[in-house]
Amino acid sequence: MDWIELKKDSAQAAFDEYFINRKIDPAPQFAELRNDLCMLFDNALSDIGITSEEISQKNNSYQLDLLFGIKLYSTLNEKYGMNVRYAATDGIWRYISVCVVPDLVEKRYGLEHPDRFWKKPKRLWLRVLWWYIYLSWQGSEEETYNVLKDNSTDEILQLVDRCGRGGYRVDLCRTLMRKNSELDPGERRKNQIFRKMLVLNTARVQVLEPELSSGGNKGYVDSLYEYFQK
């Protein structure tokens, strides 16, 4: 795929134009990607059993993020050659968000959230979804879905927002997501265990490398959890 990068000021201008006339006119090489993403979005809505007007109701928004996110991740990687290098390029996501499928971002967030379209690199909705799935990936769509199905949009925010100095420790993130999935969903939500584990992790990785500790990432993640059980 010949990706296009959109600078921030151009993205703002394109967003403002979309805001006024709702015109969507991506470069020709993005026509198929647009069709694919629209189809995946519609499929996700129909799998949940809702219309686009019902996205913001109950936990529908997370279910959409998860189902659409997994398909978006696989399709972008397998069919369009997306990789970490491109996925870390903000301009690529700005172009997709504002010029290729602004209507999908609008259905999810409305137009009152420019952060999700172009304004904040780590908040661009499609970028966030890709990284959420990448950092949670368990080897297959099915396994990944199983590990994420009881989460909420808060877990997305907590995980993707905490990039940390230098970048994500990807294997550690995946181990954390697996551990989180093994906890009782009620207890998780009540005690905000996931957020607490991430905060403790941020402090601990200042002095140690989890993968080098005895027990490796798994032992380390278990110790994060046990810290809050005392």
Binding site: K8, P121, R165, E209
Partner: protein, 317 residues
């Protein structure tokens, strides 16, 4: 090369010199059609134990999007036993580890690769370091650090109880390098423009950016030097900064404008930025924190800031 202040002994400069650590510049290669080809590290700045340089391929076939990158090198400690016991950094029967830490902050990824172990009875010990990065994973630059860590704390005697006791703790950096993958490796985003009738230099600062999140790069911050200005040649931008007092003045003033602009847009996040919290890797705020904490720029007032930036360049150019 100790990392930071800590409550337990870490590798000090004295111990670092005593252990006789020797390393060499890494060899970089890539695979093309099952065959391995060498890459060149251009413009090396520094020594084998601390340097930066840009990766170049004489075949012009290596791109981080389409080719992998393999980094290999050897390193050696001639007196590893000094690390152990009362005057060292770990208890007598601890096991230390050597690992390669890598950071590609522009692709938001980092990792660590265990290399080998050290115990007290080791005298000379050699390690072969190898790391392979898949295509499409690296962006911007690749920072590599050979680190010393506590692999197994062993059983400390009462006199050794002050040593770190948690496995995985990083005890020091043995060497570090930064290999530039994309771009020219310039620390500051400086470009030349061609605008007749305009000033010799100007600063672009994206007022709508979020300095806590947005990158310290030309999308948000840029020092623009005007080729069309009559005094442009006097800048002598191809000479080193020490040979060009005018260039030094321009860069110092431009950086002051950038720091002041960031301060303005950070608002109440300014203090957390100075304390090193709350910002993304590679962000403008991280650059500001670096200027203040590492380069010791004095941000207490505009006058002090201007002076400390100039002092920095006078001393370091």
């Amino acid at each position: 090369m100790s990392e930071s202040f800590s409550s337990y002994p870490m590798l000090t400069d004295d111990i670092y010199h005593a252990i006789g650590y020797v390393t060499e510049y890494p060899e970089c290669t890539y695979t093309d059609n099952y065959e391995e080809f060498p890459l060149i590290i251009d413009g090396i700045n520094g020594s084998a134990s601390s340097f930066n340089g840009k990766i170049r391929d004489s075949r012009c076939a290596w791109y981080p999007d389409t080719r992998n990158l393999k980094v290999t090198k050897k390193c050696r400690l001639t007196s590893a036993y000094i690390l152990f016991g009362l005057n060292g950094i770990a208890s007598s029967n601890a096991t230390l580890g050597v690992a390669l830490r890598w950071i590609s902050s522009k692709s938001d990824e980092r990792g660590i690769i265990p290399i080998g172990a050290l115990v007290r009875t080791d005298s000379t010990k050699e390690f072969q370091i190898e790391a392979v990065f898949d295509k499409g994973t690296l962006k911007g630059s690749l920072k590599l650090q050979t680190v010393l860590y506590l692999k197994d704390p062993g059983k400390a005697t009462p006199a050794e109880s002050h040593f770190a006791h948690q496995s995985g703790v990083i005890l020091g950096i043995l060497d570090q390098a930064e290999l530039f993958i994309d771009g020219n490796g310039s620390i500051f985003p400086i470009v030349t423009i061609d605008e007749p009738g305009k000033s010799l230099w100007q600063v672009y600062y994206n007022e709508s950016c979020d300095p806590l999140q947005d990158g310290f790069d030309s999308e948000n911050v840029e020092i623009r030097l005007n080729r069309a200005h009559p005094n442009f040649d006097a800048l002598r931008i191809d000479a080193s900064i020490s040979e060009s007092p005018l260039f030094l003045e321009v860069i110092s003033s431009a950086l002051m404008v950038i720091v002041e602009s960031a301060k303005e847009s950070l608002g109440e996040d300014w203090n957390t930025t100075l304390s090193g919290d709350g910002y993304q890797s590679g962000s403008i705020a991280e650059a500001i924190n670096y200027f203040v904490t590492r380069l010791q720029w004095d941000v207490s007032s505009p006058v002090n800031l201007a002076q400390s930036i100039k002092d920095f360049f006078e001393k370091n150019s």
